[in-house]
Symmetry: C2
Subunit: 244 residues, 2 copies
DNA sequence: TAATAATGTGTGTATTTTACGCAATGAAAA
DNA sequence: TTTTCATTGCGTAAAATACACACATTATTA
């Protein structure tokens, strides 16, 4: 447990931090999660209906106040678990937002985490507050400054998938090259040449041909692959960018 | 001014955030600045002697508590101004740190900003707490988790200068190509081929030959250049990486 | 069985990166 | 003055990578 302190001023005194000790309003800290998923060839994000009364009609990210004895990362995992039932995923801190008036109820600094998950493999176990996957093309009507936060995270994602092949976590364990390409096209919002895309990923050597082919497609079925996490971990120092 | 709230629990109630309302210790928020500079062919960072008693012998980043009516960015600029007298520079938020026990006086989340400045053009106006430029090779004996924070920011810098030619802000207004190369070699901790480095930067077309040459060097003087900020701003969408 | 719609495998060209050669310049030493 | 030395400035060739596009193959379906 963190050492108990009775109020913010005692922290100021103890730390010797420079601010004059004064009677201040507290600053609250929250954590928000922006979870991206991919389904039906569209990039999606998890949203809920805001549970703040004035914002009932607006969409909101998954968030909560940080608990005093909780690490930032742990808080993000807890919030996600509470809101969605999901665990077993990787969250990454992206940015913090703290404009004075960003929250109508008082001063709240929020620290934002992102993740990418496969919608099929991570079924939502809790559906309170109209929790749902929303098309990223269609993110609007957000509460507070959550649209700004979302835009930031989407830009982060676009940059991130070009540095590391994170996209794999959005796909089923087995996937075809077309599915992989659809994913990258959805995230980056571009059209890519199929043959060059294929070469690019084969040359990175992270795909394992599992010797199976697609089922129930109305055309020539493609081979199925899985991502080689081990080889990726070993070689990721060398990897600098995935350029399209 | 932010709407006044009497305590953290009232924020919880107002926001409807999910945490059960309970009697909690407050969480404090601070902002820390990691300022990089370049002098005598070495990359440096601004440090002060910690003003917390138990950590008097340790080095510390420039930080303070966030004020309740202060934006995060504004807080970083204010802290830098208070500690060093410096203004007129660009700060960028890098990461937030919030391990439960990171601060000995209680729960403090810190939001960290970085900047790069030219040591010659930005003379420190305040030198309290032994404020000084320290070699990045020699950053040790840091208070709290400030070594971890510094390592994070150094890694951020190395990545950042490869995406954007930020390095220029570390140099005098006029600089030679050798100085520029020394800077990149110091930041990235690598040896680069002089001729290819030269071609790389000329091809980016951000250097303006000001028609002067170096003075007081004991060898053939090189031409002096300045950075074309206008052209950079116009073209930076195209710029994706500076690869070495 | 032919039309359709994908997959899978190239190939050539342009561009970028990398390695390295060498003359020119100015300062310092002989 | 002349030579030596360190460094600048300019170049070229080879290697690697990116890009545009051709075509045969395989399954579906009409």
């Amino acid at each position: 447990m963190a050492q108990k302190v009775t109020n913010i001023n005692s922290i100021k005194t103890l730390t010797g931090l420079r601010s004059e000790v004064e009677n201040v309003d507290d600053v609250a800290v929250s954590v928000d999660c922006v979870i991206f998923g991919f389904d039906e060839n569209k990039l999606k994000v998890l949203l809920i209906r805001s549970d703040l009364e004035n914002f009932q009609s607006k969409w909101s990210l998954l968030g909560d106040l940080l608990k005093p004895d909780e690490d930032l990362d742990a808080s993000a995992y807890r919030i996600l678990k509470q809101r969605t039932g999901l665990s077993d995923l990787y969250l990454e801190q992206v940015h913090s937002f703290g404009k004075v008036h960003r929250h109508p109820a008082g001063r709240v600094i929020t620290i934002v985490y992102c993740s990418l998950i496969n919608i099929q493999n991570h079924r939502l176990k809790i559906l309170e507050n109209e929790l749902h996957w929303q098309d990223v093309e269609n993110v609007t009507d957000m509460a507070f400054d959550h649209k700004i936060i979302f835009d930031n995270c989407y830009a982060w994602l676009q940059k991130r998938v070009q540095e590391h092949p994170l996209g794999f976590s959005l796909l089923p364990r087995k996937f075809s090259l077309r599915e992989l390409q659809n994913l990258y096209e959805a995230i980056l919002n571009v059209k890519l040449d199929r043959r060059n895309f294929r070469k690019k990923f084969f040359s990175m050597d992270f795909l394992i041909d599992i010797g199976e082919i697609e089922q129930n497609v109305r055309h020539r079925p493609g081979r199925l692959y899985r991502f080689d996490y081990e080889k990726y971990e070993k070689n990721k120092k060398k990897l600098f960018k995935i350029d399209f």
